[in-house]
Protein backbone atom coordinates (compact mmCIF):
# COMPACT_ATOMS: atom_id res chain seq x y z
CA UNK A 1 0.00 0.00 0.00
CA UNK A 2 1.48 3.23 -1.13
CA UNK A 3 -0.29 5.67 1.12
CA UNK A 4 -0.51 4.56 4.67
CA UNK A 5 -3.07 6.67 6.50
CA UNK A 6 -2.48 4.91 9.78
CA UNK A 7 0.92 6.49 10.07
CA UNK A 8 -0.45 9.98 9.52
CA UNK A 9 -0.24 11.01 13.16
CA UNK A 10 2.34 8.51 14.29
CA UNK A 11 5.42 10.65 14.65
CA UNK A 12 4.30 12.58 17.68
CA UNK A 13 4.82 15.19 18.94
CA UNK A 14 5.70 16.84 15.65
CA UNK A 15 2.32 15.97 14.22
CA UNK A 16 0.43 16.76 17.40
CA UNK A 17 0.17 20.34 16.30
CA UNK A 18 -1.17 19.29 12.93
CA UNK A 19 -3.66 16.96 14.56
CA UNK A 20 -5.01 19.58 16.96
CA UNK A 21 -5.03 22.10 14.18
CA UNK A 22 -7.40 19.96 12.18
CA UNK A 23 -9.53 19.25 15.24
CA UNK A 24 -10.22 22.93 15.86
CA UNK A 25 -11.33 23.48 12.32
CA UNK A 26 -14.15 21.06 11.64
CA UNK A 27 -15.55 20.58 8.19
CA UNK A 28 -17.64 23.40 6.91
CA UNK A 29 -21.38 23.01 6.68
CA UNK A 30 -21.28 23.64 2.96
CA UNK A 31 -19.78 20.17 2.60
CA UNK A 32 -23.07 18.59 3.61
CA UNK A 33 -24.71 18.77 0.30
CA UNK A 34 -28.26 17.86 -0.41
CA UNK A 35 -28.81 18.76 -4.02
CA UNK A 36 -26.05 18.42 -6.60
CA UNK A 37 -24.55 20.61 -7.84
CA UNK A 38 -24.63 23.20 -5.01
CA UNK A 39 -25.65 26.62 -6.28
CA UNK A 40 -25.53 30.29 -5.36
CA UNK A 41 -28.14 32.43 -7.05
CA UNK A 42 -28.15 36.21 -6.97
CA UNK A 43 -30.36 38.83 -8.50
CA UNK A 44 -29.59 42.41 -9.42
CA UNK A 45 -31.32 45.09 -11.49
CA UNK A 46 -30.40 43.65 -14.86
CA UNK A 47 -30.07 39.90 -14.44
CA UNK A 48 -30.13 36.74 -12.40
CA UNK A 49 -26.82 34.91 -11.98
CA UNK A 50 -26.47 31.24 -11.09
CA UNK A 51 -23.14 29.89 -9.83
CA UNK A 52 -22.84 26.10 -9.69
CA UNK A 53 -19.91 24.03 -8.45
CA UNK A 54 -19.10 21.36 -11.03
CA UNK A 55 -15.51 20.17 -10.72
CA UNK A 56 -14.20 17.65 -13.22
CA UNK A 57 -16.93 18.10 -15.78
CA UNK A 58 -16.09 19.25 -19.30
CA UNK A 59 -18.07 22.01 -20.95
CA UNK A 60 -19.50 19.66 -23.59
CA UNK A 61 -20.75 17.28 -20.88
CA UNK A 62 -23.00 19.89 -19.26
CA UNK A 63 -26.49 20.18 -20.63
CA UNK A 64 -28.50 23.34 -19.92
CA UNK A 65 -32.16 23.23 -20.90
CA UNK A 66 -34.90 25.79 -20.40
CA UNK A 67 -38.45 24.82 -19.76
CA UNK A 68 -41.23 27.28 -18.96
CA UNK A 69 -40.07 28.84 -15.71
CA UNK A 70 -37.07 26.75 -14.93
CA UNK A 71 -33.58 25.86 -16.02
CA UNK A 72 -32.31 22.29 -15.88
CA UNK A 73 -28.59 21.65 -15.27
CA UNK A 74 -27.77 18.12 -16.31
CA UNK A 75 -24.64 16.08 -16.85
CA UNK A 76 -22.48 13.24 -15.74
CA UNK A 77 -19.28 12.95 -13.77
CA UNK A 78 -16.98 10.24 -15.08
CA UNK A 79 -15.12 8.12 -12.51
CA UNK A 80 -11.33 7.72 -12.66
CA UNK A 81 -9.96 4.67 -14.41
CA UNK A 82 -7.78 2.22 -12.49
CA UNK A 83 -7.68 0.27 -9.28
CA UNK A 84 -9.20 2.22 -6.40
CA UNK A 85 -7.64 2.52 -2.97
CA UNK A 86 -10.00 5.25 -1.89
CA UNK A 87 -13.05 6.79 -3.49
CA UNK A 88 -14.67 9.90 -2.07
CA UNK A 89 -15.48 11.94 -5.14
CA UNK A 90 -19.02 11.44 -6.33
CA UNK A 91 -19.52 10.17 -9.87
CA UNK A 92 -22.46 9.42 -12.11
CA UNK A 93 -25.32 11.44 -13.56
CA UNK A 94 -26.67 14.56 -11.87
CA UNK A 95 -29.56 16.90 -12.46
CA UNK A 96 -30.76 20.05 -10.79
CA UNK A 97 -33.77 22.15 -11.62
CA UNK A 98 -33.74 25.88 -10.86
CA UNK A 99 -37.11 27.58 -10.77
CA UNK A 100 -37.65 31.27 -11.46
CA UNK A 101 -40.40 33.47 -10.22
CA UNK A 102 -39.54 36.16 -12.77
CA UNK A 103 -39.21 36.09 -16.55
CA UNK A 104 -35.75 35.83 -18.02
CA UNK A 105 -34.54 36.23 -21.59
CA UNK A 106 -33.60 32.72 -22.66
CA UNK A 107 -32.00 33.81 -25.94
CA UNK A 108 -29.55 36.20 -24.30
CA UNK A 109 -28.55 33.78 -21.53
CA UNK A 110 -24.80 33.23 -21.31
CA UNK A 111 -22.86 30.47 -19.53
CA UNK A 112 -19.17 29.93 -18.87
CA UNK A 113 -17.13 27.33 -17.05
CA UNK A 114 -13.88 28.07 -15.23
CA UNK A 115 -12.00 26.16 -12.53
CA UNK A 116 -15.01 23.93 -11.96
CA UNK A 117 -17.37 26.87 -11.43
CA UNK A 118 -20.26 27.20 -13.85
CA UNK A 119 -21.62 30.76 -14.17
CA UNK A 120 -24.94 31.34 -15.91
CA UNK A 121 -26.14 34.89 -16.49
CA UNK A 122 -29.84 35.21 -17.28
CA UNK A 123 -30.90 38.74 -18.31
CA UNK A 124 -34.32 39.79 -17.07
CA UNK A 125 -36.92 40.63 -19.66
CA UNK A 126 -37.83 44.31 -19.54
CA UNK A 127 -41.17 43.79 -17.85
CA UNK A 128 -39.49 41.95 -14.99
CA UNK A 129 -37.26 44.92 -14.18
CA UNK A 130 -38.44 47.11 -11.44
CA UNK A 131 -40.49 49.93 -12.86
CA UNK A 132 -41.01 53.31 -11.49
CA UNK A 133 -44.72 54.00 -11.32
CA UNK A 134 -45.63 57.57 -12.00
CA UNK A 135 -48.38 58.92 -9.83
CA UNK A 136 -50.52 61.12 -11.87
CA UNK A 137 -51.57 64.43 -10.51
CA UNK A 138 -55.22 65.12 -10.47
Amino acid sequence: MVLDFRTLYQDLPRNMEQFLDEMWHPLHLSQRRQAYPPVNIVENEEDVTIYAILPGVDQQDIDLTFSENSLVIKGEREPEQGRYFRQERPSGPFQRIINFNIRVDQDRTKAKLKDGLLTIVLPKVDEAKRQQIEIEKE
Partner: protein, 121 residues
Protein backbone atom coordinates in the same frame (compact mmCIF):
# COMPACT_ATOMS: atom_id res chain seq x y z
CA UNK B 1 4.54 30.09 4.89
CA UNK B 2 4.59 33.56 6.37
CA UNK B 3 2.62 34.39 9.49
CA UNK B 4 0.55 36.98 7.68
CA UNK B 5 -0.65 34.58 5.05
CA UNK B 6 -1.40 31.96 7.65
CA UNK B 7 -3.70 34.34 9.49
CA UNK B 8 -5.53 35.24 6.31
CA UNK B 9 -6.18 31.63 5.48
CA UNK B 10 -7.71 30.98 8.87
CA UNK B 11 -10.46 33.48 8.22
CA UNK B 12 -11.94 31.02 5.73
CA UNK B 13 -13.39 27.68 6.77
CA UNK B 14 -10.91 24.83 6.34
CA UNK B 15 -12.25 22.05 4.20
CA UNK B 16 -10.82 18.64 3.31
CA UNK B 17 -11.28 18.23 -0.44
CA UNK B 18 -12.78 14.91 -1.53
CA UNK B 19 -10.06 12.62 -2.86
CA UNK B 20 -9.76 9.50 -4.97
CA UNK B 21 -6.63 7.35 -4.92
CA UNK B 22 -6.16 5.02 -7.84
CA UNK B 23 -3.43 2.86 -9.30
CA UNK B 24 -2.91 2.84 -13.03
CA UNK B 25 -0.02 1.20 -14.86
CA UNK B 26 3.09 1.86 -12.78
CA UNK B 27 1.80 4.92 -10.98
CA UNK B 28 -0.52 6.06 -8.28
CA UNK B 29 -2.85 9.00 -8.76
CA UNK B 30 -4.44 11.20 -6.12
CA UNK B 31 -7.38 13.13 -7.57
CA UNK B 32 -8.93 15.96 -5.55
CA UNK B 33 -12.00 18.12 -6.13
CA UNK B 34 -10.89 21.70 -5.51
CA UNK B 35 -13.36 23.83 -7.48
CA UNK B 36 -12.86 27.58 -7.49
CA UNK B 37 -9.11 27.33 -6.83
CA UNK B 38 -7.01 29.07 -9.45
CA UNK B 39 -3.96 27.24 -10.71
CA UNK B 40 -1.69 29.96 -9.33
CA UNK B 41 -3.30 29.63 -5.88
CA UNK B 42 -2.67 25.89 -5.64
CA UNK B 43 0.11 24.78 -3.31
CA UNK B 44 1.54 21.27 -3.44
CA UNK B 45 4.45 20.50 -1.12
CA UNK B 46 6.34 17.41 0.02
CA UNK B 47 8.02 17.62 3.42
CA UNK B 48 9.70 14.34 4.32
CA UNK B 49 6.83 11.86 4.26
CA UNK B 50 3.99 14.35 4.17
CA UNK B 51 2.43 15.51 0.94
CA UNK B 52 0.26 18.60 1.41
CA UNK B 53 -2.21 19.97 -1.11
CA UNK B 54 -3.71 23.37 -0.31
CA UNK B 55 -5.42 26.29 -1.96
CA UNK B 56 -8.12 28.85 -1.38
CA UNK B 57 -11.10 29.41 -3.60
CA UNK B 58 -11.84 32.60 -5.53
CA UNK B 59 -15.60 32.54 -5.89
CA UNK B 60 -17.19 35.88 -6.81
CA UNK B 61 -18.42 37.85 -3.82
CA UNK B 62 -22.20 37.79 -3.55
CA UNK B 63 -22.55 39.47 -0.16
CA UNK B 64 -23.97 42.73 -1.48
CA UNK B 65 -26.49 41.24 -3.86
CA UNK B 66 -29.99 39.96 -3.41
CA UNK B 67 -29.56 36.24 -2.74
CA UNK B 68 -31.99 33.55 -3.80
CA UNK B 69 -29.75 30.67 -2.79
CA UNK B 70 -26.51 30.57 -0.86
CA UNK B 71 -25.18 27.03 -0.66
CA UNK B 72 -21.43 27.58 -0.79
CA UNK B 73 -18.83 30.18 0.06
CA UNK B 74 -15.10 30.61 -0.16
CA UNK B 75 -13.06 27.99 1.65
CA UNK B 76 -9.45 27.06 2.30
CA UNK B 77 -8.91 23.55 0.97
CA UNK B 78 -6.16 21.58 2.68
CA UNK B 79 -5.34 17.89 2.82
CA UNK B 80 -2.28 15.94 3.89
CA UNK B 81 -1.18 12.47 2.83
CA UNK B 82 1.60 10.33 4.23
CA UNK B 83 3.76 8.80 1.53
CA UNK B 84 5.25 5.36 1.79
CA UNK B 85 8.59 4.30 0.31
CA UNK B 86 6.83 2.88 -2.72
CA UNK B 87 6.55 6.41 -4.15
CA UNK B 88 9.32 8.12 -6.10
CA UNK B 89 9.19 11.50 -4.38
CA UNK B 90 11.25 13.31 -6.96
CA UNK B 91 8.91 12.24 -9.71
CA UNK B 92 5.66 13.63 -8.27
CA UNK B 93 3.79 15.85 -10.69
CA UNK B 94 0.66 17.95 -10.24
CA UNK B 95 -1.83 19.22 -12.79
CA UNK B 96 -5.14 21.05 -12.60
CA UNK B 97 -8.14 21.09 -14.87
CA UNK B 98 -11.77 22.12 -14.37
CA UNK B 99 -11.23 22.53 -10.62
CA UNK B 100 -9.77 19.05 -10.21
CA UNK B 101 -6.20 18.49 -9.03
CA UNK B 102 -4.43 15.35 -10.27
CA UNK B 103 -1.24 14.27 -8.55
CA UNK B 104 0.85 11.73 -10.39
CA UNK B 105 2.98 9.63 -8.05
CA UNK B 106 5.30 7.27 -9.89
CA UNK B 107 6.26 4.06 -8.16
CA UNK B 108 9.80 3.92 -6.88
CA UNK B 109 12.08 1.74 -9.02
CA UNK B 110 12.91 -0.72 -6.30
CA UNK B 111 9.35 -1.82 -5.65
CA UNK B 112 8.92 -2.97 -9.24
CA UNK B 113 9.06 -6.75 -9.40
CA UNK B 114 12.39 -7.85 -10.72
CA UNK B 115 13.19 -11.15 -12.31
CA UNK B 116 16.54 -12.62 -11.33
CA UNK B 117 18.37 -14.27 -14.09
CA UNK B 118 19.87 -17.65 -13.21
CA UNK B 119 23.28 -18.01 -14.67
CA UNK B 120 24.08 -21.32 -16.21
CA UNK B 121 27.06 -22.84 -14.48
Amino acid sequence: MSATRDTQERTMPRVHPAADIVQRDHSYYIVLDMPGVRKEDLDVTVDKDVLTVAGETSYPDIQNQKQWENEFGNVYFVRKFTLSDAVDRDGIKASMKNGVVTLHLPRAERVEPKKIEIESG
